[in-house]
Amino acid sequence: MIRLPRTLQKIYTFEKDNVWYVANLQTGDVLQIDSVTADILALCDTYDNTGVIEKLGPKYSEGQILESLKALGDDVETLLFEPEQNSVLTTKEKLRIFIPHGFMRYKEILSPTTNVGIYNLLAALARYAEVFVEIDNDDLAKEQRDQLTALGIQFVSDLFESTASLTHALNRFIVDDCHGILALSPHPYEELNYFRHNTVPIVSRIYSDRNLRESTINKLLSHQALCRTFDGVCPDTPWIADELSLIKDRRTNSLRSNLSRIEGGHTISNGVDTSVYSPQNRQEAREAVASIVEENSILDSPFVGILNGFEPQNSLGMITGLANLHKDVVFIVFDSILGQEHYQRPRNVFYIDIKQPEDTVALPWVYSACEFIVFPTVIGTSFSMVLEALACGVPGLALISTALTKELTAATLSVPLTRDETTGKFVIPTAIISEQINKLLGNPELRETLSTKARQVAENYSWDKTAQRFVALFTELNTKKAEDAIPKYPDVAFAPYYDKGQNTVRTGATQPDGFFKQRVEEGLAQTLLSNHTPEEVRMVLQYLLQDAGKADRILSTLLP
């Protein structure tokens, strides 16, 4: 199906003896067309498909118009139309990025720090690219809208009457005017439609958000499956690799190794605003925390912060254990789940709930109140919070996992992470963490050295750098798109065939020459590749064959 409007080549349409023709004055081809197509050609550089249907509605049935549009796309697109605009960027050009509205629709289920991170990302991106967001008016208060407008962010609702769904006009805008789609929704399937019917690179953002574990994994799995050669998935930390390692499945193993490979490439960390997150006066900060938790007696003890992991309930044993081992220490746990009433809290453990973005305003003081922060990052934590703590000059005590990059671990003491031999799950080494707490508490010089390093590390993670890396990624993907030719596969036919030797009927796949040369799975692979990515086809083949090796072998014969 052709998508209009499109620019025509030099053509001339004429009618003779009630038959319509179109002549391509450049190639010398003359094509016979029907009157519907002739009328479409007269409108096609001005109207989109919907407009053409509307315009020609009184004259032809919708079915007739659809059929002609389909024929235009199937047969003669390259003969009559100029190639679709190629979005390779020139260096002078400012990138135009479209952001579908899913990130606003699901803001309630994102953690406040993630929401703040998205806002910061948009703000930074708007400094280096033209950003068009699709936000329903209902999703945004006027002051928020004004705030985004002030950042230079544009709203597609100002360009089109309706943004209720992916419409022709919107898609035309994306295809013709944008260089990329930034898929920010946390919903795994919300943005999958954008992988179809357009040729614009898509970058899917994967959040290290504790509230979204299953959705995040599924977004990664589904988007990665639909990625074309010029799309990318882009985690904010490589934490997901740890996450995937807990799932015993060949696909997640393969994905995990791919993610490891692109570390430093498609993994683009969030930034931190060091003007907001900076060292505060420790005593004032401690008093502020005491005020928040309404317990002034804690001011007699040192504070140690704990940034909880993705499955906070699994950290409960560690927190209780540390509290018992260090009764003279006050543990400040950054968490909104364990603080709920039904959890029995040791007397020296206090929870800081961060439920609303507004709650994050206090964070610089809470971080600064701590001597150091424990990152029991068994299966990931909010990377932004780690950065924020470091930016406040608070050293870290971290478990070694892929959730933290090497740069970050330079500003922390590390504890090796081990797995349970039976379950394969990571084990929190509470005793070792306890030893390291003693080591840090007993060594102010070490804390000071790490604090300095923490500030230096955080300086390298600015939102400007994050935005620039997104721009570089989109530029790279646009170049890749221009270079990658999508192979065309001939039609395959499927039919039952009679196996004389076995006196039975089987199904076979035939090539255009009509011989049953292929197994059904081979034919399926060939036919599916016309509309689906190799990853999708691989998944279908693995499901059908129950043999990953065979699936790979079939695909390897078809892919360039």
Partner: protein, 550 residues
């Protein structure tokens, strides 16, 4: 300036003088043209232009070769049918046609031409017989450029394609895949060729769209394929015909005398004869016929057609005479020289028995086995003996008929009264099988198929994604198909905007139905489920779902 050649679909860039020459070329001779243009252009320039235009003509551009006429017939009421496998040579020399299938196609095309314009593939273009045209269009061109092929068909305003099925599976496949016109495939050989004919039929049936059809000369084909396919609605019966003015009863004595003249054996005029006309080979019952001759020394057995037995069978019974392969124009005489026609064919590809009908048209009572299409031809106008149909084909044979049974049938016809009565019945029945009726049924079928095509609703081509899905509760990854609820028009026919979870099989059916017929998809699902009923359920569900959104 350009001139568009609308027959060749090419644009030719010309200058002003060439344009003027072309405009005048149809009304002025060359010398007149030069004289006329001399006022504006030099003679050399005009000659140079004529030379250039001659080059175009050599390349069949702009000018038609003088001897050719346009293949178009502007009769709006007649259907236009393209017969890609029809041979121009058949119409120049019908004697060149040998096999029953080709004879049937020739007669079909011939009769069809009374009611429709017929277009055959040919080297040249023109009307070779009333209503029968050749066009420079072939299946090879379809493979090279489906677009150009379809444009030419469209220019001919063709309403349908009439093809016949041979055992070469590849021949018609491109038509089903690329040509959006009703295709009727005549199936005269539904099995045989070591199972290949079955596979070709199954392939064609799988590729058929709702506006295609398969015809066969007897009900036996649909019955046979009901073993392989669940839905035989696209199998249509269209019996062959016979030219009853050519194949008609003659003076038997004179006919026998004429054949006696050919084979120089007086016994033909003296004895009752049992005739056989076909390829004389085991599949057609040659050995059975020989045994019958041995069982009936009082009768004379005459064989016409190609002799295809192995050398050791050259020694035939004394009362069996091989008449030879006679030209078609002599066949009425040969049939009339038979007193009884015995056609013991057990060939796996026997759907009708054209010679059986011709013999009946000549008033010769037949004896045949109850096998495939033969009883449909004979009806109550002959003797039908029981046959044991094989549960599956053995080489080229599909049944066994015992000589003893056939012998009883022949014996029943030895009584003169019975023979004459059944002979008359045979003639009366045969004349109802006309090629005109055959053609009229096809015309009706093409009209119905065009109507079906016109009434077809466009199904939404919804996008489907295949994605792994992590189930946190089970801590495992599953496979899912997601109906993305997005058409190529970027419309969302359903409520939910972010996709519906389907089984992989449903997702496959939805995505395959965009480019494959429902039966192809059913074949794939049958392979996946290893269960035809489960596959049928899924395809029915998916089709009903799509029909709801159409």
């Amino acid at each position: 300036m350009f001139i568009a050649d609308l027959d060749r679909f090419r644009l030719v860039e010309v200058n002003q003088i060439a344009w003027e020459v072309v405009e005048l070329s149809s009304v002025l001779e060359t010398e007149e043209l030069i004289a006329h243009l001399n006022q504006t252009y030099s003679k050399e320039l005009v000659l140079e232009t004529l030379k250039l235009l001659a080059d175009f003509q050599d390349n069949r551009l702009i000018f038609c070769p003088p001897s050719q006429t346009s293949p178009l017939v502007q009769d709006e009421n007649r259907l236009r049918i393209y017969v890609p496998q029809g041979k121009e040579a058949w119409f120049a020399d019908p004697e060149s046609i040998s096999t029953g299938t080709n004879i049937a196609l020739y007669h079909t095309a011939r009769s069809l031409s009374k009611f429709a314009n017929i277009y055959l593939s040919g080297e040249t273009e023109g009307e070779i017989a009333p209503g029968i045209h050749t066009v420079g269009l072939s299946g090879n061109e379809l493979l090279e450029s489906p677009r150009r092929f379809n444009q030419k068909l469209s220019r001919l305003e063709v309403n349908g394609i009439l093809a016949y099925q041979n055992h070469r599976t590849s021949e018609l496949l491109p038509f089903f895949c690329n040509v959006n016109l009703p295709i009727v495939v005549q199936n005269h050989a539904p099995r045989g060729h070591a199972g290949q004919a079955i596979n070709t039929t199954l392939l064609h049936h799988a590729l058929m769209r709702p506006f295609d059809a398969l015809t066969s000369p007897s009900d036996s084909v649909a019955k046979f394929y009901s073993k392989f396919v669940s839905d035989t609605r696209q199998f249509h019966t269209n019996p062959n015909g016979v030219d009853a003015e050519i194949f008609k009863p003659m003076n038997k004595s004179e006919a026998k005398a004429a054949i006696t003249e050919i084979v120089q054996d007086k016994r033909i005029e003296e004895k009752l004869t049992v005739g056989f006309l076909s390829r004389f080979q085991p599949e057609k019952g040659a050995h059975i016929f020989i045994q019958l001759a041995e069982m009936h020394p009082e009768l004379l057995f005459l064989v016409g057609g190609r002799f295809l037995l192995r050398p050791s069978f050259q020694q035939l019974p004394d009362n069996l005479i091989y008449v030879g392969f006679l030209p078609r124009k002599q066949l009425p005489t040969l049939y009339n020289a038979f007193d009884i026609y015995c056609f013991p064919s057990m060939a796996a590809e026997e759907t009708f028995g054209l010679t059986l009908l011709e013999a009946m048209a000549c008033g010769v009572p037949p004896v045949v086995p109850r096998f495939d299409g033969l009883p449909d031809v004979v009806g109550d106008a002959g003797v039908i003996v029981s046959a044991d149909e094989f549960s599956e084909d053995m080489a080229g044979l599909a049944a066994y008929v015992s000589p003893a049974e056939l012998s009883k049938g022949i014996t029943a016809l030895l009584e003169k009264g019975v023979r004459h009565e059944l002979g008359q019945k045979a003639r009366d029945r045969a004349v109802t099988f006309t090629w005109d009726n055959n053609a009229k049924r096809l015309i009706q079928l093409f009209k119905e198929l065009n109507q079906i095509k016109e009434n077809q609703r466009t199904l939404p081509d919804l996008s489907v994604a295949f994605v792994p899905h992590f189930d946190a509760f089970q801590n495992q990854v599953e496979n899912r198909a997601l109906l993305l609820n997005l058409t190529a028009f970027l419309e969302a026919p359903l409520q939910l905007k972010r996709g519906y979870i389907q089984t992989i099989e449903e997702g496959l059916a939805l995505t395959l139905l965009k480019r494959h017929t429902p039966r192809q998809v059913e074949a794939v699902l049958t392979h996946i489920f290893n269960d035809t009923s489960e596959a049928a359920k899924v395809i029915e569900r998916v089709q009903n779902f799509l029909n709801t959104l159409a």
